[in-house]
């Protein structure tokens, strides 16, 4: 982005909602501040963007003085923050005595910065950018040779960054991503630094701001990837070459397909749904998928759609099996024709081409897929996602042959409902990504979510489930406030994988139990996508037609409307927790 465009985007706007971000650095923030505001505005076009900065030359103090009440903080560290003599604006000396002192000072300051960053991250999300500028030529070594001081400072910085990357609530901007976007020799504007205190070229400031904002506020993560097989998952045409004839190895000059399979294996491990859409004979596909040298288990793919029908129809069936919207899915194929056909029928699906003869393009595709599916933490529920879908399909097949009540009784279902809190990352994830069973569609920033839990009378429960088809992990969150004998629920979400098991009934019963309330009031808002929750609320409130607003459910009415529940329920709170 050019400065001119950034200034236009960064110009003050009137808007109903303000988004406050702190930009904390030791240098004059100048154009970096402009670019950060611009990227925030691009990310949140309807918000009024407000950034606050700190004092020149005092990064540690700026972090300590952070209000902790913004939507996030971008902390940019440069060498001069570890020792002012590492700045070109300082004339503290490049003699031997100074160099030894610099190394020691840098170690102490790095420790203090880590402590300050850990403290500020407790109340707001933080992104850290480590030093990106070159060190001054302050040692007696020829420039092509790294001095001991340079190696020591680089090692110190690497250790600091490693610890920062592992801190809860802190994200570290990738050094290699910055290196790809901003060549090292084009980052430093010495003239600007000497004249104004701002050390970056415009291009580098742009890249740092872009990386920081996209780390702090990542775009929505996709949920599923549908892949073609021939010339995509493997080299060769299965129908011509046979099961043994397709390849994915260095020896067979088809290593790019191995790289792609490795990526899919990694995505599956992190909970991404994988499916196949291939124009092929289904029996030969089944045989090929059983090859023991495939780099990911064939069970990772569900469903596997192999037929001679248009791929858009396969995609349609896959979306239905997954119960996800098209805009949360990516389709990968080597054929531009197939991509165009799917894109026309499913414009929400992102269609990306696999170029089997262009390794650079394959690497670029892999990086793009990492961007689409990248997430910070892999949870137990991620590993269960694909298998739970497969189990749900098996369950549905069995259910159609039996009476619903009998079927649920034979599930041997176990529900665990336990108290949780604002630090529960899975709860925060569920609340912010669930659409269909969602009481009011409300989303929360981390700061808002934590604050919510500190209000008087508040409660927050997490629900986990398993049955004879397997565990689903933590699949629902319900929360609210208790006042006397009334509990108001203002947060209630449940994963769509958990439908049709009467878990929502068990959850409501647990809320009555946990709160001791005689009345529950649901703070309900109708959205485009929460139809499943609307049906449930109608059922238990015995209201023929519900609308947005407060919906009352008495204990007596619930007991009357609730169907038989067969789950074995365990509760994870003490009696003293009841309000």
């Amino acid at each position: 982005m050019r400065l001119a465009e950034a200034l236009k985007l960064a110009a003050p706007q009137q808007a109903a909602q303000q988004r406050r971000v702190e930009l904390l650095c030791g240098f004059e923030p100048l154009h970096l501040n402009t670019f950060v505001k611009a990227y925030l505005r691009q990310r949140f076009p309807s918000d009024a963007i407000v950034t606050s900065t700190g004092l020149y030359g005092d990064l540690e103090g700026n972090i300590q003085r952070s209000s902790g009440k913004s939507e996030g903080a971008v902390i940019v560290i440069e060498w001069s923050d570890l020792d002012p003599r590492l700045s070109f604006r300082n004339a503290g000396g490049w003699v031997l005595a100074a160099l030894k002192d610099i190394a020691q000072e840098a170690e102490e300051r790095a420790k203090r910065l880590e402590t300050a960053i850990a403290a500020v991250s407790k109340t707001q999300p933080v992104v850290v950018v480590g030093p990106t500028l070159p060190l001054p030529p302050l040692t007696h070594y020829a420039p092509m040779q790294a001095s001991v001081l340079e190696a020591r400072l680089t090692s110190l910085c690497a250790g600091m960054e490693e610890r920062i990357a592992g801190m809860q609530g802190v994200k570290l901007v990738s050094r290699s991503a910055i290196a790809m976007a901003s060549p090292a020799g084009e980052r430093h504007d010495l003239k600007m630094e000497l004249q104004t205190g701002f050390p970056y070229t415009l291009a580098h400031a742009d890249q740092v701001a872009s990386a920081a904002v996209s780390c702090l506020f990542p775009a929505g993560v996709k949920k599923g990837l549908i892949t073609d097989l021939d010339q995509t998952l493997w080299k060769g045409i299965l129908g011509d070459a046979g099961v043994a004839g397709v390849s994915w190895s260095l020896e067979a000059k088809s290593q790019v397909h191995a790289l792609y399979q490795q990526l899919l294996a990694s995505l599956a491990e992190s909970g991404v749904l994988l499916a196949v859409a291939s124009k092929n004979d289904s029996s030969i596909v089944a045989a090929a998928m059983k090859r023991p040298d495939l780099l990911l288990p064939s069970e990772s793919f569900f469903p596997v759609e192999a037929s001679w029908e248009p791929k858009s129809e396969a995609v349609e069936r896959i979306l239905k099996a997954w119960n996800v919207s098209a805009d949360s899915v990516v389709f990968v194929d080597d054929s531009p024709m197939e991509l165009a056909e799917v894109s026309e029928r499913h414009p929400g699906v992102e269609c990306l081409q696999f170029f089997p003869d262009n390794p650079s393009a394959v690497l670029s595709l892999i990086v793009t897929l990492r961007e689409r599916f990248g997430k910070e933490a892999i949870r137990q529920e991620d590993a269960l996602r694909a298998s739970s879908l497969r189990a749900a399909a098996a369950m549905d097949e069995e259910r159609t042959a039996q009476d619903s009540g009998d079927f649920l009784e034979r599930l041997r279902a176990k529900v665990r409902v336990e108290e949780t809190d604002g630090d529960d990352a899975r709860a925060f994830e569920l609340v912010n990504k669930t659409n269909q069973f969602n009481l009011n569609g409300r989303r929360f920033t981390k700061a808002e979510w934590k604050e919510r839990q500190t209000e008087k009378g508040s409660f927050l429960l997490g629900v986990s489930y398993e049955d004879r088809f397997g565990p689903l992990g933590r699949i629902a969150i319900v929360g609210g406030r208790v006042d006397g004998n009334t509990a108001e629920i203002d947060v209630w979400v449940m994963s769509c994988r958990a439908f049709s098991r009467r878990i929502e009934h068990a959850t409501l019963r647990a809320v009555f139990s946990r709160t001791g309330a005689e009345r529950i009031v649901l703070d309900f808002t109708m959205t485009d996508r929460n139809g499943p929750l609307q049906d449930f609320v109608q059922e238990v409130s015995a209201t023929p037609k519900i609308s947005s607003g407060k919906i009352l459910i008495t204990r007596e009415a619930f007991i009357g409307a609730c169907p038989t529940l067969f789950q074995e329920v365990t509760e994870g709170w003490t009696d003293s927790k009841k309000n």
Partner: protein, 80 residues
């Protein structure tokens, strides 16, 4: 306004978004309260980007009006 002045006016409109277009050609640090040293740096950075030239801030010291900046640019051989 010639081409140089039009491009410069565009830079002024970005650096000082509240400045009415009609007042740009007579704008100066005396007439615009927000024209401080950092605004000067932003304006000169925009000029460098717009005209594709390397700006020496010290060479523009004292050039704190639209007209004086026009003169300075012409002295540097910059045209629209």
């Amino acid at each position: 306004m010639d081409g140089l002045q039009e491009k410069l006016a565009h830079c002024f409109s970005l650096a000082f978004p509240d400045l009415p277009a009609a007042e740009i050609s007579t704008a100066s640090a005396e007439s615009i309260p927000g024209w401080d040293s950092m605004a000067q740096v932003t304006l000169l950075s925009l000029i460098g980007e717009e005209f594709g030239i390397d700006i020496d801030f010290e060479a523009f010291e004292g050039a704190t009006s639209f007209q004086s900046i026009v003169e300075r640019l012409k002295e540097m051989g910059v045209d629209g």
